[in-house]
Subunit: 84 residues, 2 copies
Amino acid sequence: MDYVSILGFIAGAMTTGALIPQVIHTWISKSTKDVSLGMYIVFVAGILLWIVYGNLIKSLPIIIVNIVSFCLASTILILKIKYK
Amino acid sequence: MDYVSILGFIAGAMTTGALIPQVIHTWISKSTKDVSLGMYIVFVAGILLWIVYGNLIKSLPIIIVNIVSFCLASTILILKIKYK
């Protein structure tokens, strides 16, 4: 893998990693009152578009990072709907 | 602008737009107790790496979207440090 892709993966690990504490917090507290449902639906849909964009420009970091983000954000979205 | 870049900008508007309610909430409430300082420092540093990555692969949507994200996330970080 070239150094540009490695840089992309590091960037992705840092920005997507920031979602993990939110998932853990939501999972443990079962509280999602500070999380807006509408905002999360737009966010998850936006992540899906990034995956499409990553495929179109053939950027593996964008595809992989956004698949991970999609899993994390979908978990919060499901918890939000379940515990609302 | 080609349709691929337009798709990237729409994806970015949706995922970065999700940060705006958090900025407004933090600005009005002056409360950042639910926001981790360490997490935000990593997040902001990750956004800077995305800007570098966007330049290297010459993707305008990645550059522009992450410059906007950097401004929003930095605002939350400054409020966090100011009101801690």
